[in-house]
Symmetry: C2
Subunit: 132 residues, 2 copies
């Protein structure tokens, strides 16, 4: 039962690191040393953040990555969506069929309510709010 995976965790670290560099473009090599994240894994992750519009990228020598948005506009829920597909905790196994079990539906109802709470709390966390 994990709310965030390693991808998301690493992404938070990398984004916080970049947020402290004030717009300067930072190459992966520098981040690998600073954050101790396996290089090819970090590369892939940053490329994803780039295609998702969270980062700007610069090719060629002296290239690298920089935040494409203000840290206060980069939300933890964005990262979870990007790396974990969805923020939904729970899904009815019988959707579209008639549910044969009322207790299960009641369970789903409880889990749904908890999910809403979790989302509410996650949705106020931004990179800016994690900075210090």
């Amino acid at each position: 039962m994990k709310l965030i995976t390693r991808n998301t965790d690493y992404a938070v670290r990398a984004l916080c690191y970049l947020a402290r560099q004030d717009q300067k473009s930072v190459p992966v090599s520098e981040m690998v040393m600073a954050l101790k994240i396996p290089r090819p894994f970090l590369r892939k992750l940053l490329q994803t953040l780039s295609t998702e519009g969270i980062l700007d990228s610069f090719k060629g020598q002296a290239g690298g990555f920089a935040l494409a948005k203000n840290p206060s506009k980069i939300w933890l829920t964005d990262l979870i969506r990007i790396f974990q597909g969805t923020v939904e905790l729970n899904e009815c196994i019988f959707r579209k069929k008639i549910c044969p079990n009322r207790s299960t539906c009641k369970l789903k109802h409880e889990i749904d309510a908890i999910e809403k709470d979790v989302l509410k709390r996650l949705s106020v966390v931004s990179i800016a709010s994690l900075l210090s």
Copy 2:
């Protein structure tokens, strides 16, 4: 991001079914028909619940399973612990080492707080509370 797995979901259904049978021992074959859960999977799951003390089992012809406890004393968190190992949402990747990233720690802190909320809400759900 899943709070409960299929095992846990199936276990809830089976336990609710048994709770409605008033102490009578019910064989797997009956539950398979009523709950539409794959037989060998249900068997394994019930055996686990039995060794964990949630169910009593009776061997031989006319045997089966029955609740070993009052439905109000069987908690959803018990089932999650049994089938999903733990209720922890979050775990520091750097425990026992010095954490190289304060932002990550702050993230952990946020997730921990959310986890406590989730646990609090899950911990009041019992089989009895799901019955109708």
